[in-house]
Symmetry: none
Subunit: 242 residues, 2 copies
Amino acid sequence: MVCAMESRPIIILVNPQMGENIGAAARAMLNCGLARLRLVNPRDGWPSERAEAMSSGALDKMPPVDVYDSLADAVADCHHVYATTARSRDMVKPVMTARDAAADSRAREKTGQQTAFIFGAERAGLSNDDVALAHTIITIPVNPDFWSLNLAQCVLLCAYEWFQAEAPAHRPYEEAPASMKNLTALYERLETELQTHGFFRTQELRPNVMRNLQNMLARAEMTEQEVNTFHGIITSLTKSGK
Amino acid sequence: MVCAMESRPIIILVNPQMGENIGAAARAMLNCGLARLRLVNPRDGWPSERAEAMSSGALDKMPPVDVYDSLADAVADCHHVYATTARSRDMVKPVMTARDAAADSRAREKTGQQTAFIFGAERAGLSNDDVALAHTIITIPVNPDFWSLNLAQCVLLCAYEWFQAEAPAHRPYEEAPASMKNLTALYERLETELQTHGFFRTQELRPNVMRNLQNMLARAEMTEQEVNTFHGIITSLTKSGK
């Protein structure tokens, strides 16, 4: 795993203020399979007990965090840098969503490029000089009436999109579904019992009522076990109460 | 905007422990255009100064947070409930990623269904009883070696995916789905009748059997009419045969 981590994106926090946010960002990174964190001039120094506590163990599982004096040094070994910004900038630079940037980064990684995602300080974000260093701007689409994302939340969204860019999409449940034969037998028994108990107000309505019931039960996609349970329910309810 | 908010998903936190997480969740929600937050038995009560501070103004911009004694009450007016879980559960219930669930919710909203996303407590997550109430399980694909997401981060990812999603065209059927209130009442009546008729072999097994039945019936996504029909079936079967 460490080996594979080598080519994954590096997360760089520029002038982060609160240790809590650094720790929460580390946790979010590792949740999404990213482990390389760099800091540029963290306000309260490094290491940080608050970061440690908020990381829920992530910092212990990651390679040591590297600290730099300048963003230029921090990105020196990278090939492509994405700068996250909320405010629009007067720069002629490609702007991507986090999702598109994730796909873009994955494609670059495949060709051996080292990518980095850079994030500004809690209040001010990245300076124009920081953004100018980057190749691409990431703007995460959010509510225009309440757009200010917490730093760790912003890191999470970029890391999450990166992780999803190759994650499998769908997992149906695993139990064996009932065979149509057993389902049909259940429908027939239910109809017989309902007939016996005077459920159908008129015999003309009966086929339609049964179709509706079958539609409903089909949607449940019952397992074999559940068909048996349903038989048990009918058996139980048709006995006189205790 | 208030008008449009009406039909958007409701976020429900079950037994949340830390006010900070509630506040961070509120901020993340509003970042993604969701404003209706409900709490079930928050450990430290409500309102919370810590939540207020961490929300960065979001709680002031949202409708008042509603507090409930039970999850059943909190989802009573909803039609489709998504339960977020990290651990796998032995339940036969559809499992979706947050992305697929977001698309699914958008489609339901278009037909007037009220959806809700429920989240468990920081440490333990949702109980099996909580999950059994839901129609669909959401499992967010994350690093299997470090999968524990912070509560607010989990809320963010679901809200973010909702915000990014556009309602797809597909729609299974058009009838009005039953409200959770009426579904819960049906489950309760069924349990009472099964108990009266000696269905449960042991009382220890009873909660698990009922959870399995709820999972099955939730998958059927019954309409109001079908819930009434199901009541009619129970009434009919529990009468002595003609």
